[in-house]
């Protein structure tokens, strides 16, 4: 006998095709869905929003999970987990994928949070859009089992798209959900999902996700490792990881770094880091704005200025005048633009 009310399911919603479909499938079975969208601080869309280019169409900046909630018809709660998530990313128990993507720990982290919401709301289960065999690190059978165990969700974690390949969950065993109406999707092809989207009337689904997490980006991973390696007492803040997403980064010495904006939006964003730090811009010329993090000596300030000169409109000139400022101080530095070898030596 099932609960004397519709089943209530808490879903991890990224807004990609799979999680949207999992929600739509459960709704189609009469299950009430409540979505959770965890904001980890490593989402590429969030970065575009931080840059805040006024020419960017709002639709390109939207949170796909909220859109999924509108299209499928369920509420999505956005949860800021950035600080705790960062601690997990620094030392994941199950290690990283190809870059600094701790996919298994990430799932466990989110599912533990979802379990707490399930208990708080007296819900019956947690679901995800995971598909068996779709991702090499976190979606093979053993990984799915480990994730469920570690999240403490034994029997209450449903993956509706691949459910028929997996052991029956409590709602299935109790007959609250008809296992035969759950699916047997596996592998990397999206063909079945596309067909299901059509059948469920999910015609404007968000583009399949993937590639939206900075942690799987090799350039970001290099900068992240550099940040963690140089962190005093292992302390890294979300503000510091936010900065890793912006501009060109140069490690000049331990404790000394230069970040140079690549466009007007990044220059504007970098202004946030100006208080207390040296900033560098080319005098009387369109240039990158760069922020120096740390305490540069005179030679290091010249080095920073030469990098900024390289990214100014006067990069072909023998010397460029760079204005360096920190709080009330202002200095003018004349330097030749940095050459390729110098950039390559310091660039992260």
């Amino acid at each position: 006998m099932g609960p004397a009310r519709p089943l209530l399911a808490i879903g991890l919603i990224s807004g990609g095709l799979d999680s949207s479909l999992a929600a739509a499938l459960l709704k189609d079975l009469g299950v009430q869905v409540h979505g959770l969208n965890f904001s980890t601080g490593f989402c590429k869309t969030d970065h575009r929003r931080a840059i805040n280019d006024p020419r960017e169409a709002p639709e390109r900046l939207r949170n796909p999970a909220l859109r999924s909630g509108v299209l499928v018809g369920f509420p999505v709660e956005v949860v800021d987990v950035a600080t705790a998530y960062l601690e997990m990313v620094k030392a994941p128990r199950f290690g990283y994928g190809a870059n600094v993507n701790p996919c298994i720990d990430c799932r466990i982290f989110m599912l533990r949070r979802a379990k707490a919401v399930m208990e708080e709301r007296h819900a019956d289960l947690v679901f995800t859009g995971e598909v068996l065999g779709q991702r090499p690190m976190s979606q093979h059978k053993r990984a799915l089992r480990v994730i469920e165990e570690q999240a403490g969700l034994g029997g209450r974690l449903l993956r509706p798209l691949s459910a028929r390949f997996l052991p029956p969950t409590i709602p299935e065993r109790e007959g609250w959900l008809d296992r035969q109406r759950l699916l047997d999707v596996q592998g990397r092809s999206r063909k079945r999902q596309m067909e299901l989207a059509e059948r469920l009337g999910l015609k404007q689904y968000p583009q399949p996700s993937g590639g939206c997490c900075y942690l799987a980006d090799p350039n970001f991973a290099r900068r992240f490792r550099d940040l963690v390696a140089g962190a005093v007492g292992g302390r890294v803040t979300t503000e510091e990881t936010t900065l890793l997403k912006v501009g060109r980064h140069f490690r000049l010495a331990p404790g000394l770094k230069l970040v140079a904006g690549r466009n007007e939006g990044e220059n504007r964003f970098l202004q946030r880091f100006a208080p207390g730090n040296w900033t560098f811009v080319a005098f009387d010329a369109a240039s990158s704005l760069a922020v120096g993090l740390g305490e540069p000596d005179t030679a290091q300030k010249r080095l920073m200025a030469s990098i900024v000169a390289r990214y100014s409109r006067h990069r072909e000139c023998p010397e460029v005048e760079i204005v360096a400022r920190r709080d009330g101080n202002r200095q003018t530095i004349r330097v030749p633009p940095a050459g390729d070898d110098l950039l390559a030596r310091f660039r992260l």
Binding site: D46, R49, E56, P58, L61, R62, G69, E77, D80
Partner: protein
């Protein structure tokens, strides 16, 4: 021409913050308000123009529209 947007009962200023803060604080603020009241959200995160209407639709609140002043957006929501 008269402004069709109503006078707000509460104003929430999230200038300088971007996703997910505007949505999270809007959610929190509306929870503290009685049904029928209007919240004005003041934001410079362009993405709220897509997210807040979507969030309202999912949570059954009434999105009343927005007014733009330069790079600042004033969004109006009636709590249901």
């Amino acid at each position: 021409m008269s402004d069709p947007l109503p006078r707000p009962d509460r104003v929430l200023d999230v200038l300088g913050y971007y996703c997910p803060i505007p949505v999270i604080r809007t959610d929190r603020m509306l929870k503290s308000m009685p049904a029928g009241q209007v919240l004005e959200l003041l934001s410079d995160d362009r993405g709220v123009l897509a997210d807040i209407p979507d969030w309202c639709a999912g949570h059954q609140h009434e999105y009343l529209g927005h007014r733009q002043e330069g790079r600042r957006y004033h969004l109006f929501i009636r709590k249901r």
